[in-house]
Symmetry: D3
Subunit: 318 residues, 6 copies
């Protein structure tokens, strides 16, 4: 039974004090698994694509916690278990204006950083409809940069659509490092997702978002180039046409994972045969719903997403 | 010692995960009694009317939880205890834009659905200043539709003012079913509360709210017809005059029970001798306060309500 | 990919106040999935047998909560989704001497009560190493008594080992009703688990536990007859020999699910090829560990179980 | 509608960190109403005696919290509201061997300390079957010593049975002060409850408990003298006969309020017409159950108490 | 090792139910130390000024809780321990429009009310760069009014800069009482902080804020006069010039302590040698950050404050 | 102002799910600083010795959390802040028979592992009455083994009493590694604490505890040799005499840190001039109290410890 979508990357354990509390004086932490690529797999699963997350985890209570949490959200988990390496964690302090939400990584020497392609279930990638990873993965170690390249090649060679979200993280690498590594990966990518603000940092881009989409699409010979632009919405270059998508307004409870929800929903609906504009609409609605949910993961239903798209909002449904 | 107000209806146990959490992945639930008619009794009690709630409950730990919670809020509880039937519950997921708060009923076969008039303390209704119930009650079972009709008649015959809030629930019945049943009840009603959006659904009303109030008042020969209109405020038709009432702005913590707080305060102040415009002002202020309070129940004081009416808002009182 | 073990039965949502609190005055409840047959599947999975739970669930947030919780523990979930019927729940008040733990069922009209054999994935049963259910299932409805009989037949016909735990529940049926139904099922059973105290109630048994095991084994032509006897341990009749097994002492945190942990571990180790005495040892150790864990489910590892069997207890491991 | 039992005394708000936590470093506190005389009223109510607690409370959010909590437990509350004086509170640190549970009073200048007899609903005392208070009340202020004397006289004059529990508190007064005040009150008492350890402190008693009961009964011309003796049980002198009562073993969750549960159950069953030995049995069983419940209050049912008396203990009831 | 800043005043224990809950029905309270002068010391410490809080505390678990909490935030604590007097507490109900946050004091007879200058470590004041207290302190008792005067004199005589925040509290005294006492203290003050709304109440001021600053500065021969004006920002009169400072917008989680954060930051930066406009900028940014933090205390870092000043806000930093 | 006691070592952040919960499925964790040497400093401080903990911490929110927590308990904190290295953490799963409490270290590459003697405040060690560290410290890195040796030498040379607790951790090193390193350190030690079970593992000791004490004392020319022997108590060899000390029975809430409490109290009382037997008695009583307290730290008072020594246990003190 092959997957619609396979993703690869690191999933950490996220530790966060209650809203309003500082980490320095916190006495209780929420504890959840969280990672861009498993977030994407979950969002895709919930929008109808059977999805599996590949990774490498330490053989420990903490590695098992990651598996337990991801399975709970409904995705397949296919991991290499390791006797070496840590379980990556991160601490999150919710913030509100004028203080942003703060992410404190404690992910050095995670087991996943030593993951070689051969340790992973490559057949799942070959059999899948699409394969997705993000710019976080190659930023984590040289080994992972190499593994990422190999997995993209495995997918490409097998005819599996490849999807890649730049997801620039300034706490992991510099814009120059990112550019150097990513530009080597892009030729194997079919669907590229680039946040406008990342383009500002990595490409010194100061032009229009539409031009950026055109530029990326032609420069890397993409099938689809998606540019996300925060409050201004997003746009997708596809078949040499740019499709614009607005946002659905949200009262944000937890912003983390919004982009992953967007990408997961987009991929799921594309894999289900929807056209790019329709898939972008699902993506925007799923992203908006994610903002109302605690944790990194978009635990939504397709029906809820479609309610948002139909603007059926009701204060209370009863 | 007779009551100022007696209400009758179902009170459920409400189970809700913390804000931001989905029911599907929740591990902890808040647990409170909640029901339209006991909400009204509580709001009325707190605005000065001695109030008692009548109902039928299963003789179990869950039935006792309902009694304990309602007594805590200060009202009288006079119930028939049953060896048959469940305790109704509902699950509530708080939502924020673009996802509304979601109510999931688990109230089938509740003990109250078999409540016959003869099981209830009818003398309390006869001795009371007013009797109140809502459109939820007859929607729950044929027996309850019959019981509701009988109780309204008992009240009417005894000279007790009868009050009825339409409170249409689409998860309980269709607009047609509602209309059929309710129109048989309205002739026994003195004070009728109708939400404009319910009139849209049940009456296909698309005229002005004022006209709706006039229409209801004359059609059913009411003493008072109240139309609530969300953010636009409310209006009361009385003595052939329509009184308009604005809203008091609120930062909403929990919207459930806002309408019940409105009705409870209105009845309490009418029973205390206030004129319709003054009672509507109390109602609007109580409803606004309710929005800032967790749970269905308006645990306010009269003094707090009057502070809102006097617009004495201060960020911090110390 | 066939399962080692398939189980069938109802899994409820368990709602429990913190230790020391009464349901009547509780304000917060823990919320977990719990059911004898999914407990058995989980214990078996964790002892090395790939396990799947079959059932029927309402298509709702509550049904999805059950699936999410069970997947978290690692088992397969293969359910028929229903538009009719409730999600069964139960409330649990932890008790200590002189007040026992109290279970308050609210499981009437659960969707599973209408489950017909044809709705379930019978092929999984045919392909599995063993099939397990309990006496709770046929106690829930006539339909389920019939379905249980059919599933045992499907298994038996396919050469799948059948396992059955009597699990008498006095809040569901009388000893006479139980006897009448169960005696019709036993002929299709290979492995029968009978608590001594249930034999006292259903069989008016007052003889020795050994004799009970012999009696059951020969009367129903069993492969294995297991009698559990609380603090006195357990014994297994197999190949006309009775094997005795002591208990491993435990400081009990939560006693619910102890028997299910026992059965799940026994089946897993038998399926893995262990002899009856060795499997009984695993069973006793897993049951003992379960007692230290909150909730119904034995979230143990095989290594932990073997540590108990090796009596390697250390106050603190560091 | 007259009460079976009326009690008078101070009820405080109890603030306690979770088990294992020190107050000095605690960040969260449980918050409950707690007081000997309202505890007695609640236990009596739950054993079948309609009961009301009289007191004086500050007209504040804290005074209202006391009323809300007590009503939740089912008793009547009839208080004088005061513009002067504090709401008494106490902090409780749960302790286990070798550290006892520690009570830190913050009850100085509580509103109740100024309560005069004329402020209270004396008619309720005159109409009641019994009136109960404890040695804590006269220890709190001179005014309360005077009020206690007056209330006992009001009861006595009206033919209401008077009940008094010595409840010596070393953090409130010295043995000498206690003796001086209490000996003036005892002549108006019908039922006197004296803990053996209090007799050691106040009376320098070192004889047998039986002799103490005889001594008290004859010295103060009592109807009933009860001596409680911890683990050794209790005994009641009545009609010149001493009845011994053993204890029912309990795993203690919260020991506070055990004595109050004992007295409340005893009074309720005596008021219901039970003989002294039978009432003592109820008292011992209720006290035992109380130990398993968080907070000061015995939120039990009569049926649960009778289960204990019938020694029907079952680990799990389902 | 001398302090940069020494403050003196009462610190209470703050007890608050979760957001949305009423005190009347709350079952759990947060528990934190909170007081204007220790808030100021903490904010100053975190902005780089070594700070110590002087006070008098009861020798009890509650007094130790205050010390523990303040030390946690990093300041020095130098207190006189008392065998007499209570630990002041206050209850806080978070409110949102149309209901403000409500503070219920329970601080009568606190140990600090009897604090005489001689009990305190006066040498610390003499050695410090600045000494700060507020109008709350003299409002608490006649003794404290006298002590406040003495401490200001001790500071003044030693050449320590004196700072005073009016902090008018209507629940402690009337405007007339405040004026009478404060005007006697102002001659010894170098830096005076006056909220515009307090000037409206105490001075019947209805002129411009700038004029108020000029007026205060010249009338009391101040070094610096600061007027805070809520949403409109603040201004500082210094060297006969008025410096205006805007606010940094904040999404408020907990407004209590905003003013103290402002003053603490201002003093710290002045003591570090910054000019008045720069110190006011730090003050405004610290106050804005405080609003996002639970509790009274600004547990910020200097770097976070400077990020706000540089308007480097990012939704999520990672 | 010199310290009575200075300690050096790693303090981690401890993350623990509630009792009964498995880490694998936990959703909430308690969060506290915990480390053997800061535990010792805290116990000593609370028994009357002014104490400071030296270490190296990462300059981050997590490092600051450690400082905040330790200051809260009242000790001095004097650390080198590092831009390199992690903050060590550990996860703790409470266990009960037959499952022990499980400690899962995540402390690799902690900043402290690179701590060189020159980075630390050596003057504090030279000025102190005693210096203490444990066998955990040199087990963490080669650098720390070297640093430990240097610090012991610094202390020895300055005439500061040196104290060392073997504290063998099998998850950090093998018995052989431990022996090799520790035997090089012991010549600089004055007071050596050795658990009997560690001697079994490191020394293959199977003789009597008394002999072990004698052996250690003479072999390493110690001032004092302490052997702790679990339930059997402890003994101290001093001046060629062995003093035996029993245990004070405890109902254990949290066993972690019991040994540290013992050592801290012993050192504090020795520094205060008590003889060895008296100091051992304090040590045993403090260790017993620690067992009743959540977390690693003995937040006791000297008075509480003396109450235990006087066996003044009372169920409830009020």
């Amino acid at each position: 039974m092959s997957d619609d979508l396979v993703t690869f990357g690191e999933t950490m354990l996220r530790l966060s004090p209650p809203k309003g509390e500082r980490l320095e004086t916190a006495t209780d932490l929420e504890f959840r698994a969280a990672g861009a690529e498993s977030n994407v797999a979950t969002a895709a699963q919930r929008l109808g694509a059977s999805s599996t997350w590949l990774s490498k985890l330490p053989k420990s209570e903490l590695g098992r916690k990651v598996v337990s949490d991801l399975r709970k959200h409904g995705i397949g988990v296919d991991v290499a278990w390791s006797d070496e390496g840590r379980q990556g964690t991160y601490y999150l302090e919710y913030g509100d204006k004028p203080r942003g939400t703060n992410v404190i990584y404690d992910r050095d020497d995670a087991a996943v950083q030593s993951a070689r392609a051969e340790e992973l279930n490559l057949q799942r990638i070959r059999d899948a409809g699409a394969f997705h990873t993000t710019g976080i993965t190659p930023a984590l170690s040289n080994q992972l940069a190499e593994t990422t390249a190999k997995l993209l090649k495995v997918a490409k060679d097998a005819g599996t659509t490849t999807s890649f979200d730049v997801n620039y993280r300034s706490k992991l690498w510099s814009p120059e490092e990112a550019k150097q590594t990513l530009w080597r990966l892009f030729p194997a990518v079919d669907v590229l997702v680039f946040a406008y603000k990342d383009a500002e940092r990595i490409l010194d881009w100061d032009g229009e978002a539409r031009q950026l989409a055109h530029h990326l699409g032609s420069e890397f010979d993409l099938q689809t180039a998606i540019v996300t632009h925060g409050e201004r919405g997003s746009l997708a270059w596809h078949d040499n046409t740019v499709h614009e998508q607005g946002i659905y307004e949200a009262d944000t409870f937890d912003a983390i994972g919004t982009g992953d929800a967007f990408v997961g929903a987009f991929l799921a609906r594309r894999l289900a045969g929807d056209g790019v504009p329709r898939a972008m609409d699902y993506a925007a609605a799923t992203a908006s719903l994610k903002r109302t949910i605690a944790g990194d993961v978009a635990t939504v239903t397709r029906r809820e997403v479609e309610s948002v798209m139909d603007e059926e909002f009701d204060d209370v449904s009863r």
